[in-house]
Symmetry: C2
Subunit: 200 residues, 2 copies
């Protein structure tokens, strides 16, 4: 094909990005070299910087540039509540609700046997140590309501309850603003099963 080796290497390297196959990688490489050289330089620099600077918060496991992240160091948060989420993005979503003032633990993944990720790969020992520190009173599990998220929630709640920790799960049901006509049957069935008494 007479493709220069540095171009071949770049195409190959771009395939480490999630969702990028051979065709996309080729398109990205040609675009970067033809129209996006300043952007390519910025990307190379940003990758180097992030690799050097980013690590995991020793308390909540999210990405941070210091040993402990700003949120964990804040004295304004309720340290007796611990919310377990799958990713830093999920943590940001929880924060956007302005309905939670406790702390977090970020799993950085989920139990997913098909991808070879069992409970062992999630390093849950740190979460366990955190829950047993005498400060945490309630653990709120906010993993996704996907199969993997539910399996993770099940595993975590079994593990924590056997150690005497109080565990809760965020509610499933009809979304706010949702119309029954357009909600899927599974969600509606759950909303029915998990109905709550109306305070009178």
């Amino acid at each position: 094909m007479n493709t220069p080796s540095s171009l071949e290497s770049l195409i190959e390297a771009l395939r480490c990005l999630p969702g990028v196959g051979p065709k996309s990688a080729q398109r990205m490489a040609y675009h970067l070299m033809q129209h996006g050289r300043p952007g390519a330089q910025r990307l190379a620099d940003a990758l180097q910087l992030a690799l050097a600077a980013l690590r995991h918060c020793q308390r909540c496991n999210t990405f941070t540039e210091s040993e402990t992240c700003v949120r964990c160091l804040s004295s304004k948060r309720d340290a007796s509540l611990l919310c377990v989420v799958e990713t830093p993005v999920d943590m940001n979503m929880m924060e956007q609700t302005h309905a939670y003032s406790g702390l977090y633990y970020v799993l950085m993944g989920r139990v997913s046997p098909l991808d070879g990720i069992g409970p062992g790969e999630l390093h849950l020992d740190r979460l366990l140590a955190r829950c047993g520190d005498g400060v945490v009173r309630e653990v709120i599990i906010a993993t996704n309501f996907t199969n993997e998220g539910e399996a993770t929630a099940h595993y975590l709640s079994e593990m924590l309850r056997s150690r005497g920790v109080s565990v809760s799960r965020i509610a499933r049901g009809v979304p706010v603003g949702g119309e029954l006509e357009y909600v899927d049957a599974g969600t509606l069935a759950q909303a029915l099963r998990e109905r709550r008494p109306v305070a009178g």
Copy 2:
């Protein structure tokens, strides 16, 4: 959001990739930092290497690491034929046909007024100089059959013919193996209009 600045910079830098919006960039950045650090390092290195090594062939304008690419230097190619394509990928597609032994000129783009790319942005002076070197007898225009590709072909053929260069365009029509029932009407109309006499 308390996102570390090096992570913010990485998310921002990933948006220089074509087809990558804010959500994808975030997903890519988290993935790279959580599960793909060796890949991220390889990508940073490959970008640096490609930026340093890649340039345009002075004859055909494709990407190369030397002044003139291997194909242009080859004595086995017919230098009297010059095929004009939009991208290096298109050149590779032409090569895969094993039906062409001439040389190429890669536009590295197409006339696309909506994207602000006029004939001036394509640096056609080098193509013109090439066509007027006395060696090239026929220029075969193999730009895409999209609106932009057709506009580019039209512009090129006008420009070259006014300078007395013999210009041709690759054929439009029903694809090999194609059934009339499943070919779109526009293609079929073109195939009818551009019908060829059958050698008897």
